[in-house]
């Protein structure tokens, strides 16, 4: 869905064909995964009511300050994939949809399922911890809001700190160690 980061000249190409091909492949793999996380996050922002495709893209552009090149049409296959993901007999529905008619126009609203919320928490935590881990190599700084969230010590799923009664990670079942417990030690 995300095709690239906007530059000042959209027609400019990397001169070397082999460089361009390598970077296109690498970036498209990277952006495919990030695009899914962002789409899930925006759907989550709209709660149980959900959000329809066009509004989702509008939010996406607003939240990224319109800095990304987006292939709008490929959003719908991606949403379909999130709604009915399957691989070798394993199935997941991260989002669910329902249809309504607004201003004589049929709209399909998407909202997160319980499974979707769990998976998103994991993806967010994993992604942030990954960025934090590689920040030293790549000379940038990541400051995680540790006062707001805890991260599963096993699989890195992000859990809101307000849910301090949560004892076990919902993804891997690991017994969570809360910060106050660690301090006591």
């Amino acid at each position: 869905m995300i095709s690239n980061i906007k530059g000042s000249d959209s027609t400019a190409l990397i001169e070397s064909k082999s460089h361009r091909k390598f970077l296109e492949n690498f970036e498209s793999d990277l952006l495919r995964g990030i695009g899914k996380v962002c789409v899930l996050k925006i759907i989550k922002n709209h709660g149980k009511e959900g959000v329809y495709g066009w509004q989702l893209l509008k939010d996406f552009k607003d939240l990224t300050n319109d800095k990304l090149i987006i292939k709008e049409g490929t959003l719908y296959p991606l949403l379909r994939n999130l709604e009915k993901w399957e691989s070798k007999g394993n199935r997941l529905s991260l989002i669910k949809s329902y249809r309504v008619v607004e201003k004589d126009r049929p709209r399909k609203y998407y909202h997160l399922t319980e499974e979707g919320e769990k998976i998103l928490s994991h993806l967010e935590g994993f992604f942030l911890k990954l960025l934090e881990a590689i920040s030293g190599i790549n000379d940038f700084q990541i400051i995680l809001k540790e006062e707001k969230y805890i991260f599963c010590q096993n699989c890195k799923t992000r859990i809101e700190y307000s849910d301090s009664d949560i004892q076990f990670c919902e993804i891997c079942g690991f017994k969570l160690i809360h910060e106050d417990q660690e301090n006591k030690k």
Binding site: Y52, G53, W54, L57, K71, E72, G73, T74, Y76, P77, L78, R80, N81, E86, S87, K88, G89, N90, R91, R105, P106, R107, K108, C172, G173
Partner: protein, 339 residues
């Protein structure tokens, strides 16, 4: 909203529809669902670009451009399945099953035709001819089937789109086939008891069936000495009967759903399989026992024994493989219950 603008939008949607994968196109409701959603998006986008509820042609064209190439959008719906060589991982099991089925059918038909009809007195020549002919025929079919499956994988087909059973449901229940256990169980017990109690009658029944088949194919009927059988053959039939009864009872006991019990029963079936294999080798070493049942060329009897040995080996490996899968399933269950 002018007719010309509608035409522009409809052409775009039609282009997407035309390029959708076949498995999706066959479901009209899903296609309609996809196109309705993109249509809504397009008009929302065009209205925003135009800044009015009645967008002009340029705004619609801009909205279409933002959506992207219709072929690329349609192609994104094909992105299903995990790549594995050129055939997707999801279609791989069906692909190998089809190949296995074709190889088995072609090989069996060609080799049996060679052994029984073309070279009945030269087993080696028959097998060589059979293998050569099978190899060339099988190669052609493998190329055709592979090409079909590569195409299906490229289009994003899943087994269910081809009418295959639900893999997720199957994998959890495929160890439990009560109808098969009941049939195999009753047949095994009945067949075994009849072999023990009335071996001569069973052999005569077998001879009648063989003669009926020969008669049906227009061959010369065989003449048998149906009055008696040797003590050695009678003893062998009793042993075969006892193990058929044990196999039958084991299959009947497998009707219970307990996986651990299945594992134990499968070990018994593995032992009976090894005994069957031993009996087959014993018959090969004492071919006169088989010619007492069917007075035909030794080569054909030997060929029948080889088929029996292959069958027994396949059965033993099938039981081992089922037990490995059941053990894995049991371990997985144990892990998920402790988590």
């Amino acid at each position: 909203m002018t007719t010309e603008n509608e035409k522009l939008v409809n052409n775009f949607l039609e282009e997407i529809k035309k390029n959708l994968p076949e498995w999706l196109k066959s479901n009209e409701t899903k296609v309609e669902d996809i196109l309705l959603e993109i249509n809504s998006h397009l008009w929302d986008s065009a209205q925003e670009i135009a800044g009015s509820d009645d967008p002009d042609r340029n705004s619609i064209q801009e909205a279409i451009n933002r959506l992207g190439n219709p072929k690329e959008i349609a192609k994104s719906y094909k992105n299903r399945g995990t790549p594995k060589y050129f055939v997707s991982e999801e279609l791989w099991p069906i692909y190998t099953q089809v190949i296995g089925f074709i190889v088995a059918i072609i090989f069996t038909v060609i080799v049996i035709t060679q052994v029984v009809l073309i070279e009945p007195n030269n087993l080696l020549q028959a097998l060589t001819n059979g293998l050569t002919l099978s190899f060339s025929s099988v190669s052609i079919f493998i190329v055709i089937v592979t090409a079909i499956f590569v195409g299906l994988s490229h289009e994003g087909y899943f087994p269910k789109d081809l009418g295959a059973k639900d893999e997720a449901k199957e994998s959890k229940t495929n160890f439990y086939k009560p109808n098969e256990f009941l049939f195999n169980g009753l047949f095994g017990v009945l067949f075994g008891l009849l072999l023990i109690v009335m071996p001569l009658d069973m052999i005569n029944l077998f001879r009648i069936i063989v003669n009926w088949i020969i008669g049906f194919l227009g061959g010369t009927l065989m003449v048998f000495n149906s009055a008696s059988i040797s003590l050695e053959l009678q003893t062998l039939l009793t042993i075969v009967g006892i193990f058929a009864v044990i196999t039958g009872v084991t299959n009947l006991l497998k009707i219970t759903k307990d996986i651990r019990f299945h594992l134990t029963m499968n070990v018994i079936l593995m032992i009976t399989g090894i005994v069957d294999l031993g009996i087959s080798f014993y018959i090969v070493a004492n071919l006169h026992l088989l010619s007492e049942v069917l007075p035909i060329a030794e080569n054909i009897l030997l060929f029948l024994c080889v088929i029996g040995i292959i069958g027994a080996i396949v059965e033993i490996f099938k039981t081992i493989s089922t037990n490995i899968k059941l053990y894995g399933f049991l371990e997985e269950k144990k892990i998920s219950s402790t988590a």
